[in-house]
Symmetry: C2
Subunit: 220 residues, 2 copies
DNA sequence: AAGTTATTGCGTATGGCATACCCTTTGGCG
DNA sequence: CGCCAAAGGGTATGCCATACGCAATAACTT
């Protein structure tokens, strides 16, 4: 039944000594995805990197989908410790820590979109963000919604990070008859203002925290 | 040259009458993705549905990746008209319209994550959101950052929509020794409060708009 | 000590996939 | 009326996930 994610590897002593381990497989898979992206991840590739036959992997992992879930939960790791006594500081720490994960492992963003099962580490992250809001007087459902806004910002910022997100078609935009249809956009592009990606994230995060704060103010 | 997205179909009169068209192909592909998800989308499948040979598609589209870009830009369509005189109302309208697209075509969320090229429609959406902020006194870079926060919320909410996002492992969470590690989460799950998904989106959106408003207040 | 059996590694086979190549057919233009 | 650009699409290649089965292994049983 159930879940390698939650149960971990369980093998009873009978039979030959296993040459691999779930851990080694997951780690090798992560190394591939880190270096060459999810597109380069195949069972054959993982097996080759481990010096094993492709089908041997299936003695440890039921399939690729489950492997990716394991990779995500591994890469996500433990949530940061939040002990600042201030929900705002805690939530900010949480958001930055989560953002860091996506920056270090850009493939995880794609791995995390779509239907899938949450692992223990990811569940622990949810727990820690919710716990940070326990002193705020927000209702349980509100706390969840707050966590979701913050989480949206984390992923939103990760999604547009340079080299891993959408790019404007500069060639088309450089033709005047095209450019003229997007005046506000051109204004942004031609503004001299320096554009720091890290700041995109922090700016949005602060707006969100301000918005949450405003809600709390109306209640106190 | 380059981009079908921006140039559209161009074929010169010579040769046999084309049996298909870029439009019909994109539409058929969207129908498949809508009905069965991106996973069911293959060139062979699209061709079969159109009663054509697989390779014929390549007379119209350079490859699958470009096809998906075309699907996205088609599905995204024109941005809503924003004429309320209030940036807040406009941004809310924009956000809901965008959210609707993802609700109607859940596959588009995955299609939109990762490196890719923006089409004219998507660019027009960016333009329209930026234009809505023109009267606010925000700097060009700030306007872009604001749009990004809102966009993050749209996608964040779409990402957790039921049936298309992460699901908690209820089985694991129902074991006491596991549940006890996630007290705040359990509090949310066991709260009787009704939980409306549409409200997750609207709640977060309002917090964000409040936060933007707060910034504007400090400047006026 | 010998047999039993669960378990492992993994070769092979299957069926799907994107797409390169190339041949045949078509029909507007010269 | 013939030329040739462009369309249809069959075939081939090489990758992929994964089902199945077999031989080797080693703990447990007797």
């Amino acid at each position: 039944m159930t879940d390698l994610l939650w149960e971990g590897e369980r093998r009873s002593g009978r039979g030959p000594k296993p040459a691999l381990s779930l851990d080694r497989i997951v780690q090798a898979a992560i190394a591939i995805a880190d270096a060459e992206g999810l597109g380069a991840l195949s069972m054959q590739r993982v097996a080759t990197d481990l010096g094993a036959g492709t089908m041997s992997l299936y003695r440890y992992v039921p399939g690729k989908e489950e492997l990716i879930n394991l990779m995500v939960d591994r890469v996500v790791g433990d949530p940061p410790t939040l002990d600042s006594e201030s929900w705002r500081t805690d939530l900010r720490t949480w958001a930055h820590a989560s953002h860091d994960v996506f920056r270090r492992h850009p493939w995880s963003l794609s791995a995390v979109t779509g239907k899938r099962s949450l692992g223990p580490n990811e569940t622990a992250w949810a727990e820690s963000a919710l716990a940070a809001l326990s002193g705020t007087g927000l209702s349980p459902a509100e706390r969840l919604k707050v966590v979701n806004v913050v989480n949206g910002q984390v992923r939103g910022a990760a999604q547009i990070s340079p080299g891993h997100g959408p790019v404007l078609n500069i060639e088309a935009l450089s033709r005047p008859e095209v450019a003229q249809r997007f005046p506000s956009l051109m204004a942004v592009l031609s503004s001299d203002e320096e554009f720091d990606m890290a700041d995109v994230f922090e700016f949005g995060l602060q707006r969100i925290l301000d918005g949450i704060d405003a809600l709390l103010q109306t209640r106190s």
